[in-house]
Amino acid sequence: MAAKTLTIDGRLISAAEDQTVLQAAKDAGIQIPTLCHLEGLSDIGACRLCVVEVAGSNKLLPACVTRIAEGMQVRTDTERLRHYRRMVLELLFAERNHVCAVCVANGHCELQALALALGMDHVRFEYRFPKYSVDITHHSFGIDHNRCILCTRCVRVCWYIEGAGTKNVAGRGAECRIITDLNQSWGTSETCTSCGKCVQACPTGALFKRGSAVAEMERDRTRLEFIVNAREKKQWIV
């Protein structure tokens, strides 16, 4: 694989030509915030947190799906980007009911961690306070739609890693929600293999192991990495 050189935040970086800006930055130790991205899953460029400035482009580009190019000049942490990222978070916090204090994922939540990292000290938009339900009909897992940010990691992991196609997004726009099979309670699903990958993939407290109390829902992403490596690279690294 040929290498290409590019500049990220003023640093000259060499990266493989099929890498994305996100991968190249990560390899160089530059962290770009992400939410819908999860190692091992195909990227969809939906959360817009990873948008970066690329010299010569008047549009902001999502780092997760933008391929690197020779001589590319990327900025990942400008004032303008920080401003937009903070707003993405504000919109998410205002959209559903994210009550960190009583959340199973408190302390282990990517959304919560980002709020901290990006300096979101409060939300300037009106909280929507929508009414959402919690489905704990499955014997091992539950889904709390109040905490869902619609990143679709669970959908993608269910379709492309497990292959069951149990989860999907239904509805449109603000009405979007994650469903099980034909919008039925999880416990009645005929396709769910109860593999739990969706729970491992979830960035917030939306998907959890039943019985988890506040702050107890820690995730083990190495399980996903193990499977993806085994599938794609034929390497079983236990």
């Binding site: 149990t166 509805g171 449109r172």
Partner: protein, 178 residues
């Protein structure tokens, strides 16, 4: 228009030579799907056909389609709920669609809608409790030259006024089908 799709998930077998409910519309739908080679990318065409046959898409019907196309149910439900043309609840005997396109809007479509809502006692997207009338809005039916337009039972009617819609709606609600 038929509005009853008397099916439940349990009654749908995986192989459907003849639908156990005895409803011949399933057979018609299956033939239609086969004409599309039961291709998964024909899902939207098949949902259109199903809605045309049954009036709305209930769970049993969606499951039937999922099995016919060998698709996960979550995919069929996801697609059916993405597109506003598809409805998962039964529609009334009559439908009134108020066009809310820009041209109609600047010519008072919002007042027409308010009038129908008042005359029928239901909001847009709802059906009267006696199932006589479903009230819908459209984003633009492309009849801007004759705005404001209202579609009564599929018939585009130009230059509507609050009086005209009231008469039409009252007639339906009072006299039922004719």
């Amino acid at each position: 228009m038929e509005t009853q799709a008397a099916t439940s998930p349990e009654t749908v077998p995986s192989k459907t030579e003849k639908h156990p409910s005895g409803d011949s519309r399933f057979r018609i739908l299956e033939v239609f799907a086969k004409r599309h080679g039961c291709r998964q990318d024909a899902l939207i065409e098949i949902l259109h056909k199903a809605q045309e046959l049954f009036g709305f898409l209930d769970e049993g019907l969606l499951l039937f389609i999922a099995r016919t196309l060998k698709l996960p149910p979550s995919r069929v439900f996801g697609v059916a709920t993405f597109y506003h043309h598809f409805t998962l609840t039964p529609q009334g005997e009559h439908t009134c669609v108020v066009c809310m396109g820009t041209a109609c809007y600047v010519k008072g479509a919002d007042r027409l809608l308010a009038t129908v809502e008042k005359a029928s006692g239901i909001k847009a997207g709802e059906t009267t409790s006696d199932a006589k009338l479903s009230l819908l809005t459209a984003r633009c039916i492309g009849a801007c030259g004759i705005a404001p337009a209202v579609v009564y039972d599929g018939e585009v009617t130009p230059r509507q006024t609050p009086q005209a819609v009231t008469e039409r709606i009252k007639a339906w609600l009072n006299h039922g089908s004719h």
